[in-house]
Amino acid sequence: MSSIIISADLLSVGQMIAERTAQALGYTHLGRQILSSVAEKHQVREEKLVAALDEEASLWSRLSRSRDDLYLAYIQAAAAERFLGDNVVCEGLSAHLYLRDVSHILMIRLLSDPKVRANQIAAQQDIPPRRARQLLERQEKRRRRWSLRAFGLDETDPSLYDMVINLSQIEADKAVDILADTVGYRKFQPMTYSRQCLQDKVLASQVRAALASRFPEVKVQSRDSIVVVQTRTLKRNKRQKAEAIKELAQRIPGVEYVEVHSNKDFLRQAKNSTD
């Protein structure tokens, strides 16, 4: 059966709607509860994974950015493979940014009333409503920048979703009914093609997670068990790097063939030539 990914401007609201929709459909709710097992598997503190999902790494710290990319690669691999079993309602893991173009996954954006969100901030931080509204605007900008940097997509862009629901106009119960009804449409049913797309994304994310700690810059694509890795490299260590990537990628179950495409690392090459 199909699955649903919910992206919400308020995490707690996305979680509430996802849990209720999963319950209504008899589906599995997939959320941040998986982060503890991801943390354990990769020997990382869970708070670091949460921070990578929620906060923008400092613009000036290349190290913290590549660490966040590594954590996101771990989360992506863990979340993506859970979709293989179908019947999932997912929120809070940014899956709307990396499980795109799988036709049997219904993509939803939930918008909360800005007043409600501002009031929540005001209450949490004990600040006046006007100040809370300013903070909210800043938060929105930061979140937009985060999604653009981490996945090259603006998550506030409505065209990324199959449906956008404004919760200041549609009650939560009604939103759950709408989601449960819509996911049953024929167009969202799995087919050989969409299952293959999902399988390809799962394999690519697993390979990326395996490579990311040593080669954080790599981009990975997969089709029918053939994996293509794009990397940047200096001319002199091109061959060794390609061999190391192939060796790591081929350890992932399901990988039949690995191709490495190397682009010249012009920046590092220029730096080396001036040293």
């Binding site: 173009d101 799988v102 036709s103 449409y185 024929r186 167009k187 969202f188 049913q189 087919m191 050989t192 093609y193 969409s194 293959q196 797309c197």
Partner: protein, 137 residues
């Protein structure tokens, strides 16, 4: 299996039908192959097929039109769409219009045999998929 499945394959690339016909014959299908959509529709008008496998992008008549034509004439027929130009919107459109499945090219004959076996099951005429299971067809 009690009866052989009647299957029509329509693809304007002759190699597709040429490769798939023997692969499907092995699992108990009677296969008619067409490269011209008009000729295929004429035959469809005169005969109910169990399964129709059609390419999507073809000159004059495309696979979506074939899908609609087939289901209008015979709602029980399972229509399987194949295309080298697979995209999410196209896949969703095909499913919305009643396609049984959607496969992107290139695929192995075994991939199609699996889908045919699923369609046969849905038609209440299960076939022995293992009889033809190999990747070399």
């Amino acid at each position: 299996m009690s009866e052989r499945l009647e299957v029509l394959i329509l693809d304007d690339e002759p190699i597709v039908g040429k490769r798939l016909k023997p692969a499907l014959a092995k699992i108990g299908c009677d296969v008619e192959v067409f490269v011209d959509p008009r000729a295929a529709l004429e035959v469809i008008d005169g005969k109910d097929f169990d399964i129709v496998v059609t390419d999507i992008r073809m000159d004059e008549i495309d696979g979506m039109q074939v899908l609609e034509h087939v289901l209008k004439k015979s709602p029980r027929t399972k229509v399987i769409m194949i295309t080298g130009y697979a995209m999410m919107a196209l896949a969703r459109e095909a499913m919305d219009k009643g396609a049984f499945d959607f496969i992107s090219k290139p695929f192995k004959p075994d991939d199609l045999r699996k889908v045919i076996a699923k369609a046969a099951q849905a038609l209440g005429s299960p076939i022995d998929f293992e009889a033809g299971a190999d990747n070399g067809a």
